[in-house]
Symmetry: C2
Subunit: 358 residues, 2 copies
Amino acid sequence: MCCVTKPSQELLRSISDEHVLRSLMASRRQTRAELAVTTGLSKPTVGESVRRLVELGLVADTGERTQGGRGRGRVGSFYSLADVGVALVVMIAPGGVTAECVDAYGDVVSRSHHPIADPAEVAGVLPVAAVEAVAGRQVRLAVVSAADPVDRHTGRLVQLPDSPFLVGALDPVEVLRPFLGGPVIVDNDVNWAAQAEHVASGVADFAYLYLGEGLGCALVSDGEVRRGHSGLAGEIAHLITIGPSGVATPFIEVFGELGLRQTGSTAIDVARLLAADDEVLSVVARAIGGVVTALVTLADPAVVVVGGPWGPALLDLITTGPRAVAVAAASVREPSLTGARADALSRLRTALVEASRG
Amino acid sequence: MCCVTKPSQELLRSISDEHVLRSLMASRRQTRAELAVTTGLSKPTVGESVRRLVELGLVADTGERTQGGRGRGRVGSFYSLADVGVALVVMIAPGGVTAECVDAYGDVVSRSHHPIADPAEVAGVLPVAAVEAVAGRQVRLAVVSAADPVDRHTGRLVQLPDSPFLVGALDPVEVLRPFLGGPVIVDNDVNWAAQAEHVASGVADFAYLYLGEGLGCALVSDGEVRRGHSGLAGEIAHLITIGPSGVATPFIEVFGELGLRQTGSTAIDVARLLAADDEVLSVVARAIGGVVTALVTLADPAVVVVGGPWGPALLDLITTGPRAVAVAAASVREPSLTGARADALSRLRTALVEASRG
DNA sequence: ACATTCTAGTTAGAGGGCTTGCCTACAAAG
DNA sequence: CTTTGTAGGCAAGCCCTCTAACTAGAATGT
């Protein structure tokens, strides 16, 4: 079903250009001869493609010449991507806002972090972090991770009944629009964390269970994070599970009944939970077991990855219901940022390829 | 990311051929001039493409000539797909086995149905139904719907603990292999039913809840049925929900506690359930509500479609938990067969396009 | 009866992209 | 100073698609 486009010479040309561009992204600084080898195209074709891409401003002669210890032979010109723009990666968490710029090679070229004490500061800090990270660079798109549910269509943070609202009401699309000339992609931090685990592990079907101040979950099916109709997939606070007395109870209320929620908030008190005695923890684990059973029966994951501040600590207590499924602790550090960064890189590269098509 | 292939003239040619082939599938019997219009290609290009496809045996001159009341002008030759093979669609249900052949136009060209009284008869009846439907035709692939969980990798029917095993142990791939020269795709009837609803409604994200002798569910995310790692996604019999007394209980056991399971079997007694009084039905509905809450929180569907022998009857009693989500009765008739047929057609067409690439 | 009109299909040529093969430029090694 | 080996350019050929013009042939109209 691939390529529903019309057959034309222009299509061939753009495919050649894509090969050259992606090869330069994979290893910068290549001569035309090297490009011909890495892309599998012929030398004249690569020469033409490079000429076009230089003219478009996407590729530039670095000025460097070969001969650097590569034996005899005529000097060659090194080409690399021109100053072609970056992707902005933003992580909005209750503890602070982080902004990064990633270039098409996947390198983080700038970074800015602002701790905050109160969610209300986000609106003020976000533009500051963004402007510091951007620092005048051309930004082609932005990818945002936020610690709250995200509306898939608008990109706004939404508050669900009775679930902790850590970051607070915010429209990242609107706030970031002045900094860039492209799309702003917003998603939940748990979804990005799952994306990072997916990239790291290569597993196509798994569930990511996040246990922290908030309760979240992400589902990866057929190699993609599935966000659902509104982007609220995995908001498991109200999933029915086994309560302390055995009565069917919404997941989040289990913590209320156990006195493990922060006073005056819907968030879970992580410190108190980790300090709880074995009896309480076994009740918590049984509730988690009910949630994992739902994950397993509905999504059939190859593995349930558990992350978050207190999730991995209870790993050994978690059962998966009647079907035996592996349970593992999350392995990626800074998972949300890593996942968002990976997505930003992939989108930036695709955007450049699109740009080469005019 | 489309088209990672090498740029070559052959690629253009194959794209042209694909356009011509798919146009002939959409409306058979076209002259070269009509094909040029429908595909958007030029007349000489279409002429060459048709010549190649005729040579490959995929397209044939029908012998018919135009002039049928279409005014003056030179007579043209009508072309259509040659005798190019069919797809076999098989539905294996507790009540019987149905086999159909579908051609590349989407027409059912043959059909055979064999009722059975006992699941043990499937193994004997399946080859008979298949041979009757096939009747000597060239079969390029088979798509099978079975009323039991299907192992995604082997295509075998698997028995899960304590869930009704309606069709019984069977390896449809092995049984059907003698009848065809291509792949055999096997999946759960509920997944196919969801596929049919997806085609009919066009909704990209929804859940399909099947309530019959067995309990099943299918999830459609981003426009595809998601089967999970082993193909067991949606096997909800053991999902924890609200039991008759309020205690957290596996879904299937709710029916056991209410005395609604068939004696000596794990299946639900549909007749008795439909005849039950309101109090029992409200308990059932509350249990379903727990399941739907799990569906909604985990998958975030745009709508929950309810199908099966007794599902739609309880439609008004079903609640969706804290998030309001539409609940609707399934609308497609013969949903499993329809969904399997649609998939078979799509695969057959793709197979023919592949064949044109040699 | 014969010219007109209109459509199906073919032919000719141009444009352009990719490849192979060969050539030039040029630096390091001997 | 010659040899060797690499970067890059040039020319020819192939082949795919397109446009434009042309041929074939039947219905219409006078």
